[in-house]
Subunit: 216 residues, 2 copies
């Protein structure tokens, strides 16, 4: 069981806290805004109203012993930077900070913050690749009639489960695996719900794979 | 060569326009803000100052014939929803909209928008998985002394190139492939720069793979 601190309970911070807790780990949530602290109190292991730029508070919370601290402060770029610097100075080993824009991100990188995140740019790049490459990414020929091919999930698959698409019955296609973000799900269950950007690894007759390939 | 329209030139919209152009496609950028239109004019194929809620403007731009239209308007949730509805009404086939929060996203999904994106939540979930699973994801035993293992890139690899890490010289480990986001790079070049969340597929002596596994 790991211990994390998330500073700033915006949309990113809130989703991060929820997911870390869901994965079975302890999360300390910190925010200056009392309402946000109250809203997260039932989800986070501990929720504290505090100004994260205050070194005394961070030390009192024993934050230096956490597995990682995430600076999820957004619009206030100076608060984000000052908090990140303070965490580094008191000896936090693993600091991840969300950058509000490219300039802010460069400052954080120059400061030696372990990981700097750009959610908007990241998603834009993934969407761009999804929009342009409906082409087959990889193809393995099993015989002149059968193959295995990889392609980004057609748009009309997104949000649907594999059983809803009934590919085996309707197209004689078997989904061997799905790459979703940075994970790979081998032999996905029938209730697996396809997400935007997922890459589907399909086995089937060449003609059916071509049909799959033509769907956008 | 595909044709895309991106409405709203915020951080997400701007990164999307740049990446689509970089990938060799045509992009029409639309924003009400003259400064943002001017700033993107040298990158986008075409940049137009307009209110995207205005059906007459959208029709005049022939937007219904584009391969996809992305609604990247942020804070003004009503403008985002109204623009998405208008695009659907005039017959645009592929509409992708960025949701400002979960409530907004639900409205868009109920409206039948093809793809609804949540950049902050998406990145938070990917970060959460990266933070908790430094454990080996997959392991193939080649012999009692050698194996192939997969793990998320250690934090201190992020941002560095493979040649900087010099894994073959220093640890006798060969990087067979890197999964980055939704793509897989087989036999990556020495100048490949490791990104946050990347999954490394490594071949080497069991003891060295264990050392790699213990790095956080
Ligand atoms: N010094 C500080 N200490 C602790 N929390 C802070 C501090 N400054 C700002 N915050 C909090 O950070 C949170 C996130 O900031 P903000 O809402 O500006 O970011 P955002 O970029 O819109 O976030 P997101 O994109 O994740 O929704 C806010 O709840 C805010 O109260
Ligand atoms: N009706 C409209 N027509 C065209 N553009 C619009 C309209 N309303 C807002 N925009 C533009 O959308 C752009 C993005 O919106 P905004 O900056 O509020 O979003 P954001 O959530 O901060 O974006 P990001 O997270 O991508 O940086 C702005 O440049 C704004 O001028």
């Amino acid at each position: 069981k790991k211990q994390f601190a998330v500073i700033g309970i915006g949309r990113f911070g809130e989703s991060l806290i929820s997911e870390l807790v869901r994965l079975g780990h302890e999360v300390l949530a910190i925010d200056t805004d009392e309402n946000r602290v109250d809203d997260i109190a039932s989800i986070a292991t501990q929720a504290v109203q505090a100004d994260a730029m205050d070194e005394k508070v961070l030390k009192a919370l024993d934050i230096v012993n956490f597995d990682a601290v995430v600076v999820a402060i957004g619009g206030d770029v100076e608060a984000n930077i000052l908090t990140s610097i303070t965490l580094k100075e008191i000896g936090v080993k693993k600091i991840i900070a969300k950058a509000h824009n490219t300039m802010h991100g460069k400052v954080l990188e120059k400061m030696g913050i372990n990981m700097v995140l750009y959610p908007e740019r990241d998603m834009a790049i993934r969407l761009a690749r999804n929009l342009v490459s409906t082409s087959i990414i990889e193809y393995i020929e099993l015989s002149s009639d059968h193959g295995i091919s990889e392609r980004t999930a057609p748009l009309n698959f997104v949000g649907k489960s594999l059983e809803e698409k009934a590919l085996r019955q309707r197209m004689d296609i078997t989904i061997l695996a799905v790459r979703s973000g940075s994970e790979i799900i081998v032999s996905p269950q029938a209730d697996y719900r396809i997400k935007a950007g997922d890459i589907i690894v399909a086995l089937g007759p060449v003609k059916q794979l071509e049909k799959l390939h033509e769907m956008d």
